[in-house]
């Protein structure tokens, strides 16, 4: 978060409209914020406030209607994207799903396999290399998705409620695992979540979005010390921040 470097991501007066037949729907209105290299930013806000749309714009899936997005280095970054549903290819095994980004980059299959194997171990799925997605639990599938999003060493990691479909316990465990991965890799991360405590445990900064059309209604740093553990939830600082966020969301 050093101030000397340029932002990894500079979103300037971004608006996004969708045309629904005759009427227009404004999903994002005049959104401006910056993200620093290696920063972990969480997006909070009521559903329909355009958080997914923002990620999709950053990933180049949706064109901005107004405003622009500047990336460090002037080039669109390499992106790792994790969706709410694991979004695996059901015809590929765990290993084959993880190695997909490398294959698309033209990495030789042997090398791709070797790297994917390392990621299988890193996300704790040893022994499941050749399992089919249909045989995985929700948490395992999301671990595969996480490995797939990280294997090609992306500049920007976009997570859209990655644990939203998981039960509370799995969700907490996945949060800690993500934290450990991020601690080791130090990617620039934008993560959408509905959970205030998840945001506070993970993020350097939290952006709160207003109801539609989405605008940034609060840009709050999270000055909690790292490395963070689950115990943090029960500290006074944590509770104060949580209350502040709760009030901002409305």
């Amino acid at each position: 978060m050093s101030v000397a470097t340029a932002p990894a991501l500079d979103v300037v007066h971004l608006s996004v409209n969708f045309e629904n037949g005759s009427s227009e729907l404004q999903a994002l209105e005049d959104v401006t914020f910056q993200v620093w290299p290696q920063e972990f930013v969480c997006l909070l806000g009521p559903s329909g406030s355009g958080k997914s749309t923002l990620l999709r714009v950053l990933a180049g899936l949706v064109p901005p209607t107004q405003g622009e997005i500047r990336f460090a280095g002037g080039q669109p970054p390499r992106i790792g994207y994790v969706f709410q549903q694991a979004n695996l290819m059901p015809w590929r095994t765990v290993l084959e799903n993880i190695m997909l980004p490398l294959e698309l980059q033209g990495v030789p299959p042997e090398e791709a396999r070797r790297q994917a194997q390392a990621w299988v171990e890193r996300v704790g799925l040893s022994g499941f290399e050749s399992a089919w997605p249909r045989d995985l639990s929700g948490g395992m599938a999301q671990r595969v998705a996480m490995a797939r999003a990280l294997i090609h060493d992306p500049d920007l990691l976009l997570l859209d409620e990655p644990f939203g479909a998981l039960d509370a316990l799995t969700r907490e465990r996945m949060g800690s695992e993500l934290l450990a991965l991020w601690q080791a890799q130090r990617k620039t991360v934008l993560m959408v979540t509905h959970s205030i405590s998840e945001a506070l445990l993970l993020a350097d900064r939290v952006l709160v979005f207003s109801p539609r059309p989405g605008r940034v209604s609060l840009d709050m740093p999270v000055p909690l010390p790292r490395p963070r553990s689950d115990e943090l939830r029960y500290t006074l600082d944590f509770i104060h921040l949580a209350r502040e966020l709760r009030q901002a969301i409305g």
């Binding site: 999709r56 990933a59 180049g60 899936l61 992106i79 790792g80 994207y81 969706f83 549903q85 979004n87 290819m89 059901p90 015809w91 590929r92 095994t93 997909l100 980004p101 294959e103 698309l104 089919w132 997605p133 249909r134 090609h152 976009l158």
Partner: protein, 271 residues
């Protein structure tokens, strides 16, 4: 001849149970032959009405010995094979274009819906009139018959490619070709093969109908010959050969599905 809309349970999977299933199949066949023999003997039916299993067996031996069965089977097989190839290639190609182009879909879509109502087999006589009694008309019939199920299933299959997987390929900057290879083909394969399974069996019927209408070779022609000469045993031999042909073709597609769609798991696992 029987058209199988769904795979029979014993064809679905080669499992240990297969063996016992096989035994039962053989037993049931033996039983059928026994009943058949009984009817012929008790009713004193003349061979040109209903030949006995033994007579059909001898006729089969004769047809094999003089090479006529192999020759005619080969003709039908060629017609079906070439027809399938042409029909499947065209249908897959056009199906993909239709699925990916809303404009083309709007232009051709209505015809496709209407074409579903055409009894393709009924066009066989027309094609024989237009293209003569040779192989060409039968090849066209087969191609036409396999064309529609494969086309429709390809369109549906490519349409059904999950939106989020498309988005994923986009975020990974996949080229158009990579999207086709890594996403669209594997994702639409189950439906495509389903269309092929239906089309392949139907196309055998198509070839035979064409041959019955007008031809000088093929199993349909052999049936005509047998009928003309009151050689009913020959009609049986040709009919059984046709059934075998259709079943083998059907089995080949099932085998293909079994090889390529292992990720779906066996249908039994879902129950």
């Amino acid at each position: 001849m029987i058209t199988l809309a769904k795979p029979l349970p014993w064809m679905k999977k080669f499992r240990p149970r297969w063996l016992t299933q096989g035994v039962w199949t053989v037993l049931s066949l033996l039983l059928a032959v026994g009943v058949w023999e009984g009817i012929v003997r008790l009713a004193h039916l003349p061979p040109f009405i209903l030949p006995s299993p033994g007579q059909v067996g001898r006729r089969l031996g004769l047809a094999i010995a003089d090479g006529s069965l192999a020759r005619h089977t080969l003709t039908t097989l060629q017609e079906v094979g070439i027809g399938l190839l042409i029909g499947v290639v065209l249908a897959t190609f056009l199906g993909y274009l239709l699925a990916r182009s809303p404009l083309l879909e709007r232009l051709i879509g209505p015809y496709l819906v209407a074409s579903q109502a055409i009894p393709t087999v009924a066009i066989a006589p027309l094609l024989v009139i237009w293209f003569g009694p040779g192989m060409l008309s039968k090849v066209l019939i087969c191609a036409l018959i396999v064309f529609f199920p494969v086309l429709v299933n390809t369109v549906v299959g490519v349409r059904a490619v999950p939106r989020d997987l498309r988005a994923l390929m986009h975020t990974l900057r996949a080229t158009r070709w990579q999207t086709l290879r890594y996403l669209e083909i594997p994702a639409s394969l189950p439906l495509f093969l389903g269309g092929l399974r239906i089309g392949a069996t139907l196309s055998v019927i198509g070839a035979v109908v064409g041959e019955l209408v007008g031809s000088n070779r093929g199993l349909g022609f052999l049936i005509n010959v047998g009928r003309g000469q009151y050689d009913t045993a020959l009609v049986f031999v040709a009919t059984f050969t046709l059934m075998t042909l259709a079943l083998v073709l059907y089995g080949l597609v099932l085998l293909l599905e079994w090889r390529l769609l292992r990720w779906q798991g066996s249908p039994r696992d879902h129950h």
